[in-house]
Amino acid sequence: MPAPRYRSRTYRRVRKNTPSGINKIYYKRRLPKAAHCSDCGDVLKGIPRGRPAEIKNLTKSKKRPDRPYGGVLCSRCMRKMIVKKARQDV
């Protein structure tokens, strides 16, 4: 019987063949969902998907694109916003 915490589906189950030939179940935490654009809701590109601890150790440039609103808006929405603002100013 697995430990009580492994009986619910909070953990992902990964089957692995061990070197000794036994098929074992490994329990892993599920991944959080991918980052989305706050305007259109599209999945953001260039942002890694992983457990917070894995992402924490990445460099800043690997975490989000280097542009205004990078990691918040997708490039299309950011461009729309800046164009709109530029036209309002004039």
Partner: protein
């Protein structure tokens, strides 16, 4: 529309949202830009033209562009050279080892001399 002296806003990349001026027209789709962003070749599709046009000569230098933009009433950040004028080197701290930790230089020397004897 994209002629020399046209003030534009960059809408792509890390300089997005910054103002720039067209310094040179390279071909149908590419221009040379300078101003609040880095001086570089840029595709026309990455620029949003504004109504302002300032008088500039072809291939104007960065300082000329900045002064012209300031005259036109734009606030532009001036580039600072990366090399600092008076860079005084700090004296290096002596490396701390377990043996010498907490000892002054004199006592360190003494202990070293004792070892050699």
């Amino acid at each position: 529309m994209f002629e020399i002296g046209r003030v534009c806003v960059k809408i792509a990349g890390r300089d997005a949202g910054k103002r720039c001026v067209i310094v040179d027209v390279l071909d149908k789709n590419n221009v040379m830009i300078d101003g609040d962003c880095r001086r570089r070749k840029c595709g026309v599709r990455h620029l949003e033209a504004t109504r302002q046009v300032i008088s500039l000569s072809k291939g104007a230098s960065n300082s000329e562009v900045v002064s012209a933009l300031k005259q036109a009433g734009f606030d532009v950040k001036e580039k600072q050279s990366k090399i600092k004028a008076d860079k005084t080197e700090k004296p290096r701290r002596a490396r701390k080892t377990k043996i010498n930790a907490g000892k002054t230089k004199k006592t360190q020397e003494e202990s070293n001399s004792k070892k050699t004897i």
